[in-house]
Structure formats: C-alpha cells, structure tokens
C-alpha cells in the first residue's frame, strides 16, 4: 500500500461522501456545502494524476466561483429551505435505469488497462500546458474567451431583462 494509494482512497472516499450527501441532505445550502468537499477531493485526485495546473483551476473555479454562484442563486431564489422529495416511483425508476447504466459501464471498464503510463507528465506541467495552449490550441482558446464573453453578457441580459420590461410597462 503506497502513499499514493492511501491518498487516492481518502480522496475518493471524500468525493463520494460529498456526492451521497448531496443526494440525501434536505437543506439546500447544506447540499452545496457538501459538494464543496467533493470538488476539493477531485482537485486532489488531479494531483495524484500529475495534473497540478488542472487541480488548481479546479479549486479556483469549482470550489470557489461556481459554488459561490450557486449559493447566490439559492439566496436570490430561496422560498423554501427544505428540498421536497420527488415521488417514490420516479426515484425508483430513475434509480433502476442509472443502476443498469452503472452495471454496464462497470462491466466494460473494470479490466481496462492500456499497460503504460506517462511518467513525464508532472515535469513542468504548468509550463507545458501554457505552451500548448498558446501554440497548438490557440484557436479553441480564443474561442473559449469569446464564449465566456457571450455567457457574461447573456447572463446579465437574461437576469436584467425583466426589470426593463416592467419599467417599460410602467
């Protein structure tokens, strides 16, 4: 049992626990908080996979930005704290479907092994990503920035438009 193994198990346990809590808690805010654990644990998983830069981004974006946005969303829209359960039949049906899905995928991936791994990956990881991004992937990268801009403007307009209309009506 190497240290990597122990780290992986702990992280995986945390991530799954966070996920299960997300499903089972009733308070909406608690759910989001449970998910923060999952996100951070996933960042840890990335580190075990020699992806330091992705791990950092994960912490920044998910644990930071997205969770905060979600909390804002909850606060802006809250009108009932407690989450009501969905009908039992629906839960069972969905659960069965997903269980089936799980079993199929499990059967397919359990023995997957390509027999080799990239040992160089952690060497100057961030620098290499930077070089790749600005050379080979420059066009997708720029497109992503455009997408972000569009998303920014789009969300502002979506969130604002109603007020304008109401004013216009007045």
């Amino acid at each position: 049992m190497t240290g990597e193994m122990i780290a992986f198990f702990l992280l995986a346990l945390t991530a799954i626990t966070g996920g299960v809590l997300l499903i089972n808690l009733t308070n909406v805010v608690h759910m989001v908080v449970a998910l923060i654990f999952t996100f951070i644990a996933i960042a840890g998983i990335y580190i075990t996979l020699s992806a330091e830069f992705v791990a950092v981004v994960q912490v920044l974006i998910y644990s930071g930005a997205i969770t905060i946005i979600m909390l804002f969303g909850i606060m802006l829209t809250r009108h009932q704290e407690k989450e009501k359960k969905a009908p039992r039949l629906k839960i069972i049906l969905t659960g069965l479907t997903i269980g089936l899905f799980f079993l199929i995928m499990y059967g397919k991936i359990k023995d997957l092994n390509f027999g080799q791994q990239n040992v160089e990956l952690h060497v100057e990881n961030t620098k290499k990503i930077g070089v790749e991004l600005y050379s080979h992937y420059v066009i997708p990268f720029e497109l992503t920035s455009v997408l972000l801009l569009v998303a920014l403007i789009g969300s502002i307009i979506l969130a604002k438009r109603d007020d304008d209309e109401k004013e216009a009506k007045k």
Partner: protein, 104 residues
Amino acid sequence: MSAVPLPAYLMLALILFCIGLFGALTKRNAVIVLISIELMLNAVNINLVAFAKYSLNPGLTGQIFSLFTITVAAAEAAVGLAILIALYRNRKTVNVDEMDTMKR
C-alpha cells in the same frame, strides 16, 4: 512506482457521474439540478485527466481538454443561473416540477 490502476479512477468517475445523473433527474430544486450537472462534468474531467496519464498515447491533450470543459462549465453555470433567476422572477418558483410550459 505504479500503484493506482486506471480502472480505479474510471470507477470513481463513474460513481460520481451516476450520482450527478441521479441528482439531475430527481431533485426538484433547479439550483441543485444545476449543481448535479456540474458534478457530472467533473466526473468527465476525471476521466479526461486519467486518460491523459494512462492511455495508448498519453499526453497533455486530456488535461487541456479538461481545462476547456471547466471553462464551458463555468459559462454554463452562469447562464443557467441567469435563466433560473429570470424564471424565478416570472413564476416565483425554482421547482422543476412546476416548469412544464412545454406541455402547455
């Protein structure tokens, strides 16, 4: 140095994906549905990064791809919430059950 095999990562991703899927399909609060979708995206990212390390021709591509995914997910979360808020203003609810305008 090998220790954790590829299937372990894939399994973790699968479990998280299933949890996310279940949440997205059963939770009634729209915010939670959005968060569940984020969880699914994260599960996918784990796969990408894992394949960047263990695969037939490993490399940085997987990690870079996961970066793009994260970016898009962030944008999606922002737009999704904006829509949610707009909807909430109109209908005074974030309950997914009550959003059935498609039927009407």
